[in-house]
Amino acid sequence: MGEAIVITSGKGGVGKTTTSANLGTALALQGKKVCLVDTDIGLRNLDVVMGLENRIIYDLVDVVEGRCKIHQALVKDKRFEDLLYLLPAAQTTDKSAVTPEQMKKLIEQLKQDYDYIVIDCPAGIEQGYKNAVAGADKAIVVTTPEVSAVRDADRIIGLLEKEENIEPPKLIINRIRNHLMKNGDMLDVDEITTHLSIDLIGIVADDDEVIKASNHGEPIALNPNSKASVAYRNIARRILGESIPLQSLEDSGKGMFFKIKKFFGVR
């Protein structure tokens, strides 16, 4: 029996889909059997980020409406031997095509065969969000160090805390731009975590490679040399229960020095 993790954020464009793709990939790299589920019906793009768009035959709505068997709709990722699958969202209908009960049943079914189900949640807090959350056991909230993203994350955490079947959510801070954070122009990691007061499960630096890789349909987690890739792999290992210290955004000495400078008010 596997566990289902929903990746959500409230705000759009903070990197839910990228995070889902990379966590799924990183978990598969750890030898786990993973199924990615795209619940962004009508605006799917997890398949594009994974580079699996051309292989889609059936989608989530087809499964729910009984037009095909669940295994027929699953798209296998050839880069992994039978470890990574994607259940794509439908592109033709909208979010109301599926109900939370149907999603719950679907996820239950998938949990029989997979170690991890990674559910990519659409932006917003309406039907799409409710569908995505329905079957989940755990939740990861993605935010960026921007006030608007943190505000929406706060709202989402409030909603997630009301869900009885979901464990307290974990936090990923995405797209950290070190120079801005250093100058105090961006919210820093501590500030965000105290504000949201949930456990931090990982930080990911803003990395051009991520965009390049997504555009090629290759999750960055496959490239071991990138900083973001290491960050995602670390998160995957933390999900598996290992305890790994947070990646330093640069040499820790500088960070300390900066803190001292800030203390004395030197800019």
């Binding site: 505000r151 929406d152 706060d154 709202r155 955490i157 409030g158 909603l159 805390e161 504000h195 007061s197």
Partner: protein, 224 residues
């Protein structure tokens, strides 16, 4: 056998006190009250209103019945009901009174989009994040950071106060006064252990917590 009187009228220096018996039926009571008051009507020329204090004992009267009694008494010359007292409360009334007098402790973070409302005083162990709202009929005490909206005395109590360990609200409301955060924030100020109250000019002021001892002595409920 002499019938017990259902209505006893007593004169005091503040007016009249009517003791209404609580074991007879309401109809009997009304009849006797009507009778007694009619009999007692003396044609005194002075049109001075006499306040009447009605004691119901262990009888419960609904709002409608109270109005009836008031009307009945008002019909008689220069009598006006000042106050109706009863030893009995409905469960609802009792609950609401208890709710208003109680300090409710809540250990939670009020996040964006969430509203927490209590009838009496609120003691929040946790933060109010931006976009979150706490509302109380009485005072609000926050053992954490207030970064959202707090509305104390929302039933109209202007004596209510808002206190927080870290006072950085986006808006403060007490009764019907509203105060919002300045647009330019002096970020270095700490704003620790502060409280907000309505001052003599009906403005919400934020000040040190310690000043409250003199401003709101009623906050202390401990009797010594």
């Amino acid at each position: 056998m002499k019938k017990r009187q259902n209505v006893i009228i007593k004169g005091t220096k503040d007016g009249l006190t009517l003791h209404l018996d609580d074991s007879c039926s309401y109809q009997d009571l009304k009849r006797e009250l009507d009778l007694k008051l009619s009999a007692n009507t003396r044609a005194n020329g002075e049109n001075q209103l006499i306040p009447v204090h009605v004691q119901l004992g262990n009888r419960y009267l609904s709002e409608e019945q109270k109005e009836e009694i008031k009307a009945l008494i008002r019909q008689k010359k220069n009598l006006v009901v000042d106050k109706i007292d009863s030893n009995v409360l409905t469960k609802e009334e009792a609950e609401s009174i208890r709710g208003k007098a109680e300090v409710l402790t809540v250990a939670r973070i009020i996040r964006s989009g969430q509203i927490l409302e209590v009838p009496g005083d609120l003691l929040l162990v946790g933060d109010v994040n931006p976009g979150g709202t706490v509302r109380a009929g009485g005072n609000i005490f926050i053992m954490g950071a207030l970064k959202g909206i707090a509305h104390a005395g929302c039933g109209g109590d202007e004596q209510a106060i808002i206190a927080a360990s870290s006072m950085k609200p986006s808006q403060l409301r007490i009764s019907d006064c509203i105060n919002r955060a300045p647009d330019i924030v002096e970020s270095e100020e700490k704003h620790e252990m502060e409280c907000a109250y309505i001052d003599d000019n009906r403005q919400i002021v934020v000040d040190r917590l310690q000043g409250l001892i003199h401003l709101r002595p009623n906050l202390t409920r401990l009797e010594d």
